[in-house]
Symmetry: C2
Subunit: 308 residues, 2 copies
């Protein structure tokens, strides 16, 4: 069976939305990616770092999802990465209130030996040098390396970012970041420029407007499910990426046709993530619920026009 | 065979985009709707008004598409409605530079007798009292009345707008206008509120992000085709509406399933409209081209996940 290794943050998040606010709760890219991928019951490991303040309860939560945590370094005397943000009324933009890197500042990822031959590597949003370090540790070239990033690294580590982008097969990036990275407004043109930087597949995330998957001259559009209420968008992009990666690991098929299904699974899982604060909705998500929502995605997008 | 009657403007447009600018060219909601619907070779009439300055060339262009112009009043001593606008770099917003109502100011629509029993009525963006007047002239209740409108009428004729909305089956409206009309940010909630105002079907147009079709608790999402270049967005919404209405007239089927196909046809035709200035691309569009693009829409959206 194929294996998935995820590098990314585990974190405390404190979130404020028009619907309410939280104290420090479980967050982090690797957490969301891992919880989402765990829906597929595939061998998954998280490579990350936390401080001595990271509760056993959170470790148990991830372990109970069969996520391998031997690559989660706990720095006993250190503190866990902390992020606090406040969403605006439209839920599409947010202000970062606090970022305390803590143990993340000196994070030196160590891939467990039994995951150094993982078929799929998911590089969550982190410094591009950290992402590259994980790739370097793989003893076998992964079938698929997927990279997520953000504008912050374009601003302060662009050269390193370009270096790691060159080495991955898939990039997931949001629309504004794709525009920033390429200087192109058209997402079609931006995707072409990103192809030329290295990745064979380019996923552009458009939030409430869904996601586009580009591959050479082909394009596929996975819509987001229109929701009555988006309660908390935190982690939606990572949940999307985790669903995308998890489905590809489970099916062991990285064809474009199968990637279309993977972005639908990613969108489907992200549609749950935003229904409650933080990881709450993802913690107890059942296969009956995901099955029902996949049917909704089919109803949302599938039509019968016969063409020859 | 079913018939389609369209009320809306014919106009001169002067358009400026980042790609260039035009002198006065053919424009107007009824023009775009009519050209788009003409792709389906259905009996179509335009009810509108123009001045003595409206060139015979434009009349011939529409006549040659088999559009009945007996409801197009030419006020010899008057001037044709003129609009001038300039698009911003993102093509999603524009400034209106000039609006000269001219003959439109006193427009009193007269539906030709042989179209007073048309099965489908498309009320293009106009003063709601003008739209209502067309409905009042129908001798037989249409199978489907479709209304397009804009924020301008919400600002200055809201009561009249509510009155005509109550009498139609389908409304097409853009996302920001849906939010303005209902005071709701969530488009799902906005659609519910608009349902309660009268229309059984609510189409929310999201420009480059596609369109949503709502019907009771069902929703369908037609994406916009991602394009390398949007040359001129003028008329895209009307072209969408014309394709939607034209397909429904041709198939004589107003079920929700068939409306899904109609929004795909509308989106497909709109994807051509924006490729050139004004109506240029729509004037010579061939069925081979539309067939090819429908295949692109299928490739863009269709996936194979087997669920029981």
């Amino acid at each position: 069976m194929s294996k998935l290794v995820i590098v990314g943050t585990v974190a405390f998040d404190a979130i404020e939305t028009p619907f309410g606010k939280t104290d420090k709760i479980l967050g982090g890219a690797a957490t969301y990616i891992g919880l989402s991928a765990s829906q597929f019951n595939v061998d998954t490991a998280i490579v990350s770092v936390a401080g001595g303040d990271f509760p056993q309860e959170y470790i148990d939560l991830l372990s109970n999802k069969n996520i391998d945590l031997s690559g989660l370094e706990i720095v006993k005397e250190g503190k866990t990465f902390f992020w606090s943000g406040k969403y605006h009324n439209d839920m599409n933009s947010r202000d970062t209130l606090i970022t305390e890197l803590n143990t993340l500042a000196d994070f030196n990822p160590v891939v467990p030996d039994h995951y150094k031959d993982a078929e799929i590597v998911m590089l969550g949003n982190l410094h591009p040098l950290v992402q590259q370090s994980v790739l370097n540790q793989m003893t076998k070239k992964p079938k698929l390396a997927i990279l997520d990033t953000m504008d912050f690294w374009m601003d302060c580590a662009l050269e390193d970012l370009h270096a790691v982008i060159k080495n991955v097969d898939v990039i997931t990036i949001n629309d504004e970041e794709a525009r920033q990275l390429t200087g192109e407004y058209s997402l079609v043109v931006a995707a072409k420029k990103i192809h030329a930087m290295g990745p064979t597949y380019v996923v552009i995330k458009k939030g409430e407007h869904g996601a586009l998957l580009f591959h050479n001259n082909e394009v596929f559009y996975a819509p987001a499910l229109p929701l009555e209420e988006v309660f908390d968008p935190t982690g939606a992009g990572d949940t999307f990426a985790g669903g995308f990666a998890g489905y590809l690991v489970k099916t062991d098929d990285i064809s474009f046709e199968n990637m279309k299904k993977a972005v639908i699974y990613g969108s489907m899982l992200a549609s749950f993530c935003v229904e409650k604060f933080g990881t709450e909705r993802m913690q107890n998500l059942t296969s009956a619920e995901t099955h029902k929502r996949l049917l909704e995605f089919k109803a949302l997008t599938q039509f019968e026009i016969e063409l020859t």
